[in-house]
């Protein structure tokens, strides 16, 4: 994709422009590596959002899958895979938040048998 004419104004040549852009993107990728507290906060948010589902099966699945996914990704060490996993987790959190609302709008009046006998 050719660089936008406006962006090139401040740079000497197109080559330098692309080098700067690349360095900037690498720096931002480095900045995107989540800290331990960010990862833990994402984990807690996912579990909390999962609890809000009205459907018994989806609720249990979200909890179980979150725990298993974070546990299996615990050993990831290189930056790129960690950031990719974190970004994926954030996306899943957004999906879960939206779907929790949608499921609650159409939840049946009578709950699943599994929930009733637990009470």
């Amino acid at each position: 994709m050719p660089p936008n004419k406006r962006n090139v104004e401040g740079c000497c040549t197109a080559g330098t422009f692309w080098k700067l852009k690349l360095r900037a993107s690498m720096a931002s990728a480095a900045a995107k590596t989540p800290t331990r507290s960010e990862v833990l906060s994402l984990f807690r948010c996912l579990l909390r959002t999962g609890r809000d589902f009205c459907d018994y099966n989806v609720r249990e699945y979200t909890k179980r899958r979150t725990i298993d996914a974070f546990r299996s990704n615990r050993s990831l060490s290189d930056q790129q895979s960690v950031s990719a996993a974190y970004a994926d987790g954030k996306e899943q959190l957004a999906i879960a938040k939206r779907q929790a609302i949608v499921y609650s709008l159409y939840s049946p009046k009578v709950k699943s048998i599994m929930e009733l006998n637990q009470v």
Binding site: D52, F53, D68, A100, V102, S112, I113, L116
Partner: protein, 459 residues
Amino acid sequence: MASKFLASPIRRFLAKAHRPSASWPRHLSTAAAAAEAASSVYEDPDAGIVMKGVRISGRPLYLDMQATSPLDPRVLDAMLPFYTARYGNPHSRTHLYGWESDLAVESARAQVAALVNASPKEIVFTSGATECNNISIKGVMHFYRDKKRHVITTQTEHKCVLDSCRHLQQEGFDITYLKVGSDGIIDLEQLRSSIRPDTGLVSVMAVNNEIGVIQPMEEIGKICKEFNVPFHTDAAQALGKIPVDVDKWNVSLMSLSGHKVYGPKGVGALYLRRRPRIRVEPQMNGGGQERGIRSGTVPTPLVVGMGAACELAMKEMEYDHKRVSSLQERLLNGIKEKIDGVVVNGSLEKRYPGNLNISFAYVEGESLLMGLKEVAVSSGSACTSASLEPSYVLRALGVEEDMAHTSIRYGIGRFTTEEEIDRAVELTVKQVEKLREMSPLYEMVKEGIDIKSIQWAQH
């Protein structure tokens, strides 16, 4: 910043929604209200559900994954934009609505193709696996009707395959129905000897929907390649559950279904090999959509849902498989520990673990099912459950009539929990013990009398 403003109202809303008494006010549209009033379903948070004269305290736990599977929330999330704002027809070439729909359909096609190791150009979207089977069997044979007059299939195929073959038989084609062994697997030597010079198609389903056995697909593919016969498989139950590879299996046609892989109902995909090209006569004529093989507007939301479901299946296949295997063991061992006379129909080794078809001896099938109303299971497949006779699949396995009548099919899936399995075991065991206590046949067996040696008096 905006998320902070949204967070507290959303939290409050969700907290309100989670309370069982404060459900979203149900202002039903007139059509829906009339339908609910007309149906004899009575739902009340305290009294439970009363339907068809049966009262249950809550919604049953779902163990019927072979009939259909619940929609994964991530799939619903992918589909909803195409029901709300992006509602264009993918075949409209002149505006944004059409372009974005077309883009979505093509990316869904690529997702489905990736799961079966095919090229996106080889995938045709249809309305479901039944339509795919019809196109494959009738379409291929009609196209090659001058040279090829013979079809080979098995006795345990899905009803739509058997019905299409019966239709071809009425038109004058020859059909060979291969027998299966008592474990549900076909005999490869019998297949090899049945192939004639005018065999136009071999159709064997990958994973059986009633008993869950996996046929030896690679070996069948090799035999078909040797004799240069097109190989069709109904992979509706196999997709997303076992690794499906069109090159390893050497299939020319494959039927896929959306609602068995946690996708929406009403959509399926047909895989048609391009090298060497397999030609079919289209069953739906019209504007030439889907390369002329299946005309009609491609339903964007459904197709996007199927694509999302296939992508999820690829990511989650290993995790789901491990989990479902352990749940199956838990179910089978739980039942076998408490009661005897339990027979698993079909091979236990060559089987997809999520499908467990068990027969209970000395128990009547209908009463067992009626007693298990808190567990949603089925006996036989949904297609054959309307009639009273036992399933033809079990009869093909050589299961005796009385055992075939008491067969129950448990379907375990991605969303099944350990507690549900334990509850299902508990309910099944309780019901079977209750029925056996009432059964005079069981009393005789316990005393040591051999049932088969009894001379029943004729009145």
